[in-house]
């Protein structure tokens, strides 16, 4: 039971890990992209559109080529979230619009866009239920190592996920090393801390902001793709993604802007997100009714608030948000 809980917590945590890693990369450049929920949503629906096109182009779904079945949705998803990142960057970096307003607009826009295309696809299929199923594509996305099933709890906890889950962990580790060890990472952090300083040191601030926001969006978008293709086995239904995007942003704060912490953090958040379903199993002697379960759903957010409080009390400078987070930079500002 514990094993299946951990397994579900990790499944639940992977989209958050993608989102948080993407948002960390973005925020390190000083761009507070509150559009992440929208970006992840678009990342999901773009993958769905790609998969739908591919599946429908086949005379018979059993003829699907595994490589194409993965690459087409993957590239569509990356492209979709890249476009969202570009819109955000253009508005905030080039036009210097307010980042909060832009971010919220991107979220609203992204969710609306996703529901529009999602709804359209459902109409095209003419399904009885308001959802669209892409089980062929999903099969490839969620394929895990065949021998994992024979390895007991170890297999279930560590080996039983689709490739995107491992990709999420690898991206988080690589991002962490990139920020800490490379010169480009150093420059990026400087842009987020003090863009005027970075500029005076010869760092192209706008380019860094664009790059990090776009790459960050693409990483976050993969979270949406993972959610629909693996977590829910290829079934898209409008608004099914829930508040995972906001949870990813909360996770960024929780991990004090460190992608390697986000790996553990995302599993913890994933666990807190679903623990209300497991309470009756873990503690059969305490009856938990529906309303209590609703209360327990607050857990990830409460933990984030607690971390915020503890962090601001400890006042360690390294654990604070990038200093110029949320501020637009203009060289000739006086």
């Amino acid at each position: 039971m514990i094993v299946s809980f951990i397994h579900r917590a990790i499944m639940q945590g992977i989209p958050l890990l993608f989102g948080a890693t993407g948002e960390i990369v973005t925020e390190k450049s000083g761009n507070l992209n509150l559009g992440i929920p929208g970006v992840m949503y678009v990342g999901g629906i773009s993958g769905v559109i790609g998969a739908f096109m591919y599946e429908n182009s086949l005379p018979d779904k059993s003829m699907a080529n595994p490589f194409l079945a993965i690459m087409i949705p993957l590239l569509c998803s990356l492209l979709g979230s890249l476009i969202m990142g570009l819109i955000y960057s253009f508005l905030t970096t080039t036009l210097r619009a307010n980042q909060n307003v832009t971010g919220l607009a991107i979220t609203t826009f992204g969710v609306g866009l996703g529901n529009f295309f999602g709804g359209s696809l459902i109409k095209i299929v003419g399904a009885d239920v308001p959802s669209i199923t892409l089980s062929t594509t999903s099969k490839f996305f969620s394929a895990h190592l065949p021998f994992a099933d024979n390895m007991g709890w170890f297999g279930e906890i560590f080996l039983s996920y689709g490739f995107l889950a491992y990709l999420a962990v690898i991206i988080a580790i690589v991002t962490s090393l990139f920020l800490k060890k490379t010169r480009t990472g150093l420059n990026l952090r400087a842009v987020g801390e003090n863009p005027a300083t970075a500029d005076a040191a010869g760092v192209n601030v706008s380019r860094y902001k664009y790059m990090s926001t776009c790459v960050g969006s693409m990483i976050a978008g993969l979270g949406g793709l993972y959610y629909v293709m693996d977590y829910v086995s290829g079934v898209w239904s409008n608004d099914g993604f829930g508040d995972r995007g906001w949870l990813a942003i909360a996770l960024v704060i929780f991990t004090v802007w460190k992608p390697n912490f986000a790996i553990i953090g995302s599993i913890l958040f994933g666990g807190l997100y679903i623990i209300h379903n497991y309470l009756n199993q873990f503690f059969p002697f305490i009856p938990v009714d529906m309303s209590t379960q609703e209360l327990i759903k607050m857990a990830p957010y409460l933990v984030t608030v607690l971390v915020l409080i503890v962090n601001s009390m400890r006042n360690k400078r390294e654990n604070q948000p990038p200093e110029a987070l949320g501020l637009s930079y203009f060289r000739e500002d006086r």
Binding site: R183, R189, A190, T197, A198, A200, A201, G202
Partner: protein
């Protein structure tokens, strides 16, 4: 001469927006191996001109030649490639980075090597010119002087041969200034060209070889420093004769207005910023507060103003001039203090942050202090507008209109608006923090005159300053803070600059232990 010039400006013009022309047809040379002081009032375009050389701005028209060749400087990177490094007034350092990381910023790893190589190079530069920088230290743990040193090392590391320093001594103690000047002389001996932007004429005379003067964005002339005097430079800078002596009128009847007892305050990081300070301020005198920036001046003034929480056991008593009634200020909020009729005025250090609202015009800013008066549901706009007009006329505030956002005014004019407003409220105690920071000499003297007028009216003036010459000339008594402790109070008439400078840096512990 042309071939020896390190930098030549030719017909440089730069405007911000359509109204403000920062530089107008400036042509001048900087010779190699000289220390050139760039002198001018606020808004005379010194910093703008230098920012064009360092790639922050780009000129609207005109050419810049570096070492005889026309240079196209479009970014700070281009400037570095030409061997131009600028030390900005507000340091361009990332607080959470170490010294090494700050130096490495923006540079290619292929040319710099790893952290170890950079640290080694930093040590080499330090040894060569006599600096002291710890490569592993984080910037937020550094003192102002250390940060400045790091900035210079950073520029030298990038191979700067032409070094621009914007107001480098504004935040240094006299001792630190001497150290900086020694370093600058070393660099000059090494063949580097140095441009130093400053307001402080005695420093210009002490360090520079030549002085170039800008006035209202135009290049006036340059003179050999050894042939110049404070008076001649001031006249050239202002364009008219300026009275240079600071008055110190005597007021006979001094009344106790404010007593501060055992005041201890913490800063925002929970570190003791002000440690058991006891002071008295009298009406009809100017009490100077001297100290390296960050020695607790801010906390002292803000505690009196009701903005800073004091630790237990402290007491601040205000004595009303009319009734003689005593009021305890600790534990009272700003609003309470105001409601009880306690006439405090505070000119904070951070003019556009705490003092004025940058996006609002003069009259709206005047209203901030009086909006609670009156009983109709509508605001009274006429009184503040009249006050704004009065301040504008009396203090000669240069602004397109009283509704122009004050953010768009120059530093000196912003300060005039703030001081004008505070004085207009007829205070009993007037506190001013760094009232002339960044102001040109003409405006500074206007501010000193205003403070003296208040003193003559019997106001207790508390003046936190950084220029010791001014403190010694203006103040009746000077309280010296050192690391948050009161290190003694000296008489402004008899104390010397060296004495005060020493008190700022060395806590007088022996005397206290002996007691």
């Amino acid at each position: 001469m042309e071939n020896k010039a390190a930098v030549s400006f030719r017909h440089i013009t730069k405007a911000f927006g359509s109204k403000v022309v920062a530089n107008k047809d400036v042509s001048m040379d900087i010779m190699s191996g000289e220390i050139l002081a760039l002198l001018g009032e606020n808004g005379s375009g010194k910093t703008t001109l230098m920012n064009m050389l360092s790639g922050i701005y780009h000129q609207d028209s005109g050419e810049i030649f570096v070492n005889g060749e026309e240079a196209y400087i479009n970014s700070p990177k281009d400037a570095y490639a030409l061997g131009i490094g600028m030390i900005h007034q507000h340091f361009k350092l990332v607080d959470v980075f170490t010294a090494t990381e700050n130096v490495a910023l923006g540079m290619d790893k292929k040319t710099t090597g790893g952290a170890k190589e950079i640290a080694k190079a930093i040590t080499e530069i330090c040894d060569r010119y006599g600096f002291d920088v710890d490569p592993k230290k984080k910037v937020y743990n550094m003192t102002v002087s250390q940060k400045q040193t790091l900035e210079i090392v950073k520029a030298l590391y990038r191979g700067a041969n032409i070094l621009i320093l914007d107001e480098p001594t504004a935040v240094l103690t006299p001792q630190e200034t001497d150290k900086l000047f020694a370093v600058l002389r070393n660099m000059k001996a090494d063949g580097k060209s140095i441009i130093i932007i400053t307001h402080k004429l005695n420093e210009v005379l002490a360090i520079s070889d030549r002085v170039a003067i800008l006035r209202k964005g135009e290049y006036i002339d340059s003179v050999i420093t050894s042939e110049a005097t404070v008076q001649s430079l001031t006249d050239m800078m202002v364009g008219q004769k300026v009275e240079l002596d600071i008055e110190r009128p005597e007021v006979e009847d001094k009344q106790l207005r404010l007593t501060i007892d055992h005041l201890t305050c913490l800063d925002k990081y929970g570190v003791t910023a002000l440690d058991d300070v006891s002071l008295e301020a009298y009406g009809g005198e100017i009490l100077g507060i001297a100290g390296i920036s960050g020695s607790g001046q801010k906390q002292l003034l803000e505690a009196v103003a009701g903005l800073q929480e004091a630790q237990d056991g402290a007491s601040i008593t205000y004595i009303d001039p009319e009734s003689g009634a005593k009021e305890e200020l600790i534990g009272k909020s700003v609003t309470e203090i105001k409601k009880r009729g306690i006439a405090l005025s505070f000119v904070p250090e951070d003019r556009l942050g705490m003092g004025l609202v940058g996006a609002m015009g003069m009259s709206d800013n005047m209203m901030l202090r009086s909006y609670e008066k009156g009983h109709s549901p509508f605001t009274d706009r006429k009184t503040p507008r009249d006050l704004a007009n009065r301040v504008k006329d009396e203090l000669e505030v240069v602004t397109p209109g009283i509704s122009t956002p004050v953010r768009k005014l120059s530093g000196g004019n912003v300060q005039k608006v703030l001081v004008g407003r505070e004085i207009a409220s007829n205070p009993t105690v007037l506190m001013a923090a760094y009232a002339v920071r960044g102001l040109d000499i003409n405006t500074s003297y206007t501010i000193y005159r205003l403070l003296n007028e208040q003193k003559k009216k019997g106001v207790a003036v508390i003046y936190v300053g950084e220029d010791l010459d001014v403190l010694l000339a203006l103040c009746d008594r000077i309280a010296v803070l050192c690391g948050g402790k009161l290190n003694g109070i000296v008489d402004g008439r008899t104390a010397t600059k060296e004495e005060v400078g020493l008190m700022m840096t060395n806590l007088n512990t022996e005397e206290k232990e002996g007691e």
